[in-house]
Chain length 234, copies 2
């Protein structure tokens, strides 16, 4: 268990720790949803895709319940400094996690709705993108669990790689569109998903920023990578 600081109230400490655990459970569920959505798409497993759609409400419910727990702890315990920063980081992180969960559901719907072999050929391009996004999410959750500043900075920079992968898939799908205009609507659906996966990377970057904010007390949103390096070195 990470040392979050000593409190006169052991109960307060237990509450903070419980919220943090819930966040990590939610993160694990979102990672699983993405992973199932990817497998469902890859193996054309409609049952698995339906499970992802069915389980989306669990992710949503966790967001609402963690949010409530955070507001309750603020009202009851009046946290300041690092405790308050932890709660603020958690409140923001769950929003990003919930939206990542929505991408999994969106991909699951694609599996459910697609019926032709041709459609599935184009969809194959999503698998490596999804794999990269899941890896980034896994790492950022791990960094959050340990509030690991260096890991957060490193993972933040991984997003460039995912962006490049997405751009390359989009370029190749664009070529397919030009060559095979009958399939334009199918290819567009795959492109929307590729862009949605790209935004998973952006959301992982947001979570990295919250980790940096918690550890350093500095808001590093909207500054470039170089300045982030400087900010965390201070």
């Amino acid at each position: 268990m990470m040392q979050l600081g000593r409190h006169i109230s052991g109960q307060f400490n237990a509450e903070l720790e419980s919220i943090r655990t819930h966040l990590l459970t939610m993160g694990g569920l979102v990672e699983q949803q993405l992973s199932y959505a990817m497998h469902a798409l890859h193996k054309d497993d409609i049952e698995l895709a339906r499970k992802v759609v069915r389980d989306d409400h669990k992710v949503n419910a966790m967001e609402v319940s963690i949010d409530e727990a955070c507001t309750r702890i603020i009202a009851k315990r009046q946290p300041t400094a690092k405790d308050l920063r932890l709660i603020m980081s958690i409140i923001k992180t769950i929003t990003d996690l919930e939206r990542i969960g929505d991408v999994a559901t969106k991909m699951a719907y694609i599996t459910i709705e697609s019926s032709t072999v041709k459609e599935r050929t184009f969809q194959a391009a999503l698998e490596p993108l999804c794999r990269s996004a899941i890896e980034m999410l896994h790492q950022v959750l791990d960094a959050f669990a340990r509030m690991d500043l260096e890991a957060a900075v490193r993972i933040y920079k991984l997003d460039d790689k995912l962006d490049n992968e997405v751009e390359s898939v989009i370029a190749s799908l664009t070529t397919s569109m030009i060559e095979d205009s009958d399939n334009i609507p199918n290819i567009l659906t795959v492109m929307w998903s590729a862009r949605a996966i790209e935004r998973i990377g952006d959301r992982c970057q947001n979570i990295c920023e919250y980790i940096i904010y918690f550890v350093k007390g500095k808001d590093v949103r909207h500054i470039d990578e170089h300045t982030i390096d400087e900010a965390v070195e201070d």
Copy 2:
């Protein structure tokens, strides 16, 4: 000035009011950014588009500064109940406003980067979408200023209209792609923007949910429109 409740500390009241005013100023700026981006696209006004790009940092800076002010007031004033809900609503609203600002910047870049008359022909489809999104944003900011529950519920439902408008533009652009495959890359750029404008509607819906949360103390995220009606009637 809306009556936010009486406080022993007049200073606290002044601080809350100041944060609320800052949020509305930020909202006004975002609305202006979107409006300028739309005009720049419509009139092919590169200078105006450059201004939008240049001013994006102002939106970002306001997000960071309002966020800091909210965290400070929580630490210092230990708000509970409705005061705390107001602060939580503000913290979440500014995130959505900042992302709406990003869409304006994205559209401004399209104006700056597009050079052919043909490209601009496709872009014309974005103007009515953008106009609807600006109108929705304007109304939601107005509802936030007055914490108007009924308006929030009404605006929430406007999103269906924007979604339909976007779908119809996407369908028409898809047809253009099939008929004119040389222009596929240009049309794709316009499509990304149409989807980004669609997400402005989703973000306005989020802000409606925060208004409902503030007024009713109920988290109505992830529930359907019918249930929202029930929740606000209680």
